[in-house]
């Protein structure tokens, strides 16, 4: 009887050890990555140029791929990824929507003049609420939306060469 207890406890003990050992390898910071394809939830935002309120339904109304990019002029990695966004725009296969995150309009304009404007539409997000509707984590962040209006890819951080190629593969 006692022996059986002993082995049960030793067994549990090794189970604990292995789990904690494996647990050490996992990062302790949570990053809200995209687990599965998700429908794009409906939201409203102010247009960057016209300052009018528009609904997401009006924006994503074509049977096309869309890319939503959250950016700000104060964000350095946004500058790094900007060239890739321009290149994507030139491919003409995907429509780029920019969300200008907690930014000063004047600085944002300067940024676009200097770096080029890849976006077919820019929305303002002065208080960060629009990005939360999209389940964003920070700037820069990019979402790819397919023709069924599903979010199929989420990129946390700047786009680099590898991710750029992945995006091309998806939209082609």
């Amino acid at each position: 009887m006692k022996n059986r207890y002993f082995f049960i406890i030793i067994g549990l003990f090794f189970f604990f050890f292995i789990v904690l050992f494996e647990g050490l390898k996992n990062p302790n910071v949570y990053i809200p990555e995209l687990q599965e394809e998700k429908n794009l939830s409906k939201f409203e935002a102010i247009d960057f140029y016209s300052n009018k309120k528009i609904s997401s339904l009006e924006i994503f109304n074509d049977n096309k791929f869309y890319l939503i990019n959250i950016w700000a002029s104060w964000c350095l990695p946004c500058r790094e990824e900007h060239d890739y966004l321009i290149k994507l725009k030139e491919q003409n296969l995907i429509r780029l929507i920019g969300i200008n995150y907690k930014d000063d309009s004047e600085n944002a304009r300067k940024f676009l003049n200097e770096m080029g404007n890849p976006y077919s539409k820019i929305l303002k997000d002065n208080n960060g609420t629009v990005s939360i509707q999209l389940a964003a984590y920070g700037v820069p962040e990019t979402f790819i939306i397919d023709k069924n209006k599903k979010i199929i890819k989420k990129i946390i951080g700047p786009i680099d060469k590898k991710i750029y190629n992945e995006i091309l593969l998806i939209i082609k």
Partner: protein
């Protein structure tokens, strides 16, 4: 710098001394029937002494701001005041581990001095187990977190200590808490030794009780200090967040509390011997487990230290060796325990202690499972969840009600057999009175929930009964009466505090005012000021109460230079009825300030009642000591 070498080599010397003590004890143990006195006091002292030297070397390095030492470089800065330079010694991983070792060797030294009445073999065995722990931690320190590593070229300036750690309470919090944690190792080693020797009896219980009380008092005060610090520095008026690191500190305390009660049964009735051993093992295991969870960074907490998986792996392995060895020893020598199949009568002190242990173990399991479950779930199913306050409230609060009621009845029962158990009807009527009282209180506040009403009633019940015990002249056990009264006061103040706290949050700029209940809060002006290593903005707020009393609040926002961190220093006005708490925070890109004003009833009683609990323990400890 010479102190780097002194510190480093004294650590190595103490490893050697530890090994000598370890083998000497083993060889002494094998000489059967040794009548001659063995004198290990000197060796024990030297082991402690060299760790002390090493510790002082580190303190000196911090005081001199010697940035050739990497620990000093990472955690200190020349503009820091002397006090925080010293307290910075244990405000980081390496230094605090050295402090841990210092206390570990000190408590072994104290153990050997104080245990002269115990059988020599038991003492030697305790020494052996204790040396295993000491050597483990020494190797851990030297291998993964040596505080005396050097850096070259020598930097001109250090990186500074996190400003929220630059605080008087947080300077003494770690030593107190560590003393509590570390002295549980003596309980652990001694219980294993007495198990092997077949000495688990009332005499052993009488001896080890002293250590249990010491650890328990220090842990209680240590947790209290941490909580006070969190109240005014970290949170927005909260003092307990169910954060993993806080939970971890509470687990050994709960286990120790169970042991504290259970040891009484062993002492008075020679019962529950195996359960006592299990609790002794689990208390220390939980302490080391806490070290693992905090230092490895496996958990995500507000208080996480800089984390390093290598350290985590080392402690994990060490922890499991310890637990494994103690399990094997337990099962091998379990037959040495006197299995007394005595009966427990229902209405006796011993069964009420059993019930106490039952509930305390439940609370412990809730906290343990709630804290580590997310790790298990992530490893086994790759899903991340958060377990926070709602979980703990849901599982703890309902069980608190019967616990409080048992607690009010239990201490008034006798050992073995109870002849006349009070007047049951009287007790029941009294409970109903309390129920009515709490119903009115909650009704006055406006929101009635069944659980809260009954919980409040139960805590009033305990409060009145323990109060009666406390003032009863010929009550047998003063220390227990004080501690239990303190506990009832604690629960009552926490409950009242959580039901009745009020707060207002607003964005204000200078000159504006808002109304809060019947007070007006006026934001008068902002002034800037500076300290040795920070600049600060001081907000001046005037609060006019309805009876035209004026209170001036001066909350601060501090901008520390190194590292660059902004902290909010709340201004708190305390009296016996409530705390008034005002804190400000910057609003990004605006000339507005985020203002939070809270009125928190009975706040000071939460601290005072915890001190009362510890005083109760101290009374008991001093009483035993005189005998």
């Amino acid at each position: 710098m010479i102190f780097n070498y002194i510190g480093n080599y004294s650590l190595i010397i103490s490893v050697i001394i530890s090994l000598i003590i370890f083998f000497l004890s083993i060889s002494n143990l094998q000489k059967i029937n040794i009548q001659k006195k063995i004198n290990l006091n000197k060796l024990n002292f030297f082991q402690f002494f060299f760790v002390l030297v090493s510790f002082f070397s580190l303190v000196v390095l911090f005081v001199l701001s010697e940035f050739s030492n990497i620990t000093v470089f990472n955690n200190s800065h020349t503009t820091k005041s002397l006090f925080y330079k010293i307290s910075g010694t244990w405000g980081n991983h390496e230094g605090s581990l050295l402090l841990w070792l210092l206390i570990l060797t000190l408590s072994l030294f104290l153990y050997f001095l104080s245990s002269k009445n115990r059988p020599i073999k038991e003492r030697l065995l305790t020494l052996i187990f204790q040396e295993v722990i000491i050597i483990g931690f020494l190797v851990f320190l030297l291998k993964t977190s040596n505080p005396f590593n050097q850096i070259f070229p020598i930097p001109k300036e250090g990186l500074g200590l996190n400003p929220i750690l630059q605080d008087p309470i947080l300077a003494i919090h770690p030593p107190v808490l560590y003393f509590g944690y570390v002295s549980t190792s003596i309980i652990f080693s001694s219980s294993l030794a007495s198990l092997v020797q077949g000495n688990v009896n009332n005499l052993w219980a009488k001896y080890i009780k002293k250590w249990i009380f010491v650890s328990w008092i220090f842990l209680t005060i240590g947790i209290l200090l941490g909580s006070i610090w969190a109240y005014y520095e970290l949170g927005w008026g909260g003092f307990w967040f169910w954060d993993p690191v806080e939970n971890i500190s509470l687990m050994p305390w709960l286990s120790l509390t169970a042991l504290l009660h259970c040891i009484l049964v062993l002492e008075k009735r020679s019962l529950l011997s195996s359960w006592t051993i299990v609790l002794s093992i689990s208390t220390f295991t939980l302490s080391v487990c806490g070290t693992f969870l905090v230092r490895s960074g496996i958990l995500n907490s507000v208080h996480t230290f800089a984390n390093d998986p290598e350290r985590g792996l080392f402690i994990l392995t060490f922890l499991f060796i310890l637990v494994f060895l103690s399990l094997v020893i337990y099962f091998l020598y379990e037959k040495n325990l006197k299995t007394n199949n005595d009966k427990f009568n229902l209405l006796t002190k011993e069964s009420s202690i059993l019930i106490n242990n039952w509930f305390v173990m439940y609370f412990l399991s809730v906290i343990l499972i709630g804290t580590i479950y997310p790790i298990f779930l992530e490893v086994l199913s790759d899903q991340k969840i958060s377990v926070g306050p709602p979980f703990f409230n849901k599982l703890l609060i309902p069980f608190l009600i019967p616990f409080l009621i048992f607690m009010s009845i239990g201490p008034n029962l006798n050992w073995i057999k109870n002849k006349n158990f009070g007047n049951k009807i009287q007790l029941a009527i009294f409970f109903i009175l309390n129920l009515m009282l709490s119903f009115f209180i909650i009704k006055m506040f406006g929101k009635i929930t069944l659980t809260f009403t009954i919980l409040l009633a139960a805590s009033f019940y305990l409060f009145f009964i323990t109060f009666k015990d406390l003032i009863k002249k010929n009550y047998k056990n003063t220390s227990q009466a004080i501690s239990h009264f303190g506990f009832s006061l604690l629960i009552l103040s926490i409950l009242m505090n959580s039901i009745l706290s009020k707060e207002i949050i607003a964005n204000l700029k200078v000159g504006e005012e808002i109304n809060f209940m019947e007070n007006t809060i006026k934001f008068k002006k902002v002034e800037s000021s500076s300290g040795s290593n920070f600049k600060s903005l001081i907000g001046f707020f005037e609060i006019n109460s309805k009876d035209n009393k004026k209170f001036l609040f001066k909350p601060e926002i501090r901008i520390y230079n190194q590292p660059k961190v902004i902290t909010s220093e709340a201004d708190i006005k305390t009296n016996f009825f409530k705390d008034k708490f005002l804190v400000i925070n910057l609003v990004k890109g605006d000339n507005y300030f985020n203002v939070r004003y809270q009125e928190k009833p009975l706040m000071i009683w939460i601290w005072l009642s915890t001190i009362l609990i510890a005083i109760g323990g101290s009374v008991s400890f001093l009483k035993r000591y005189e005998k």
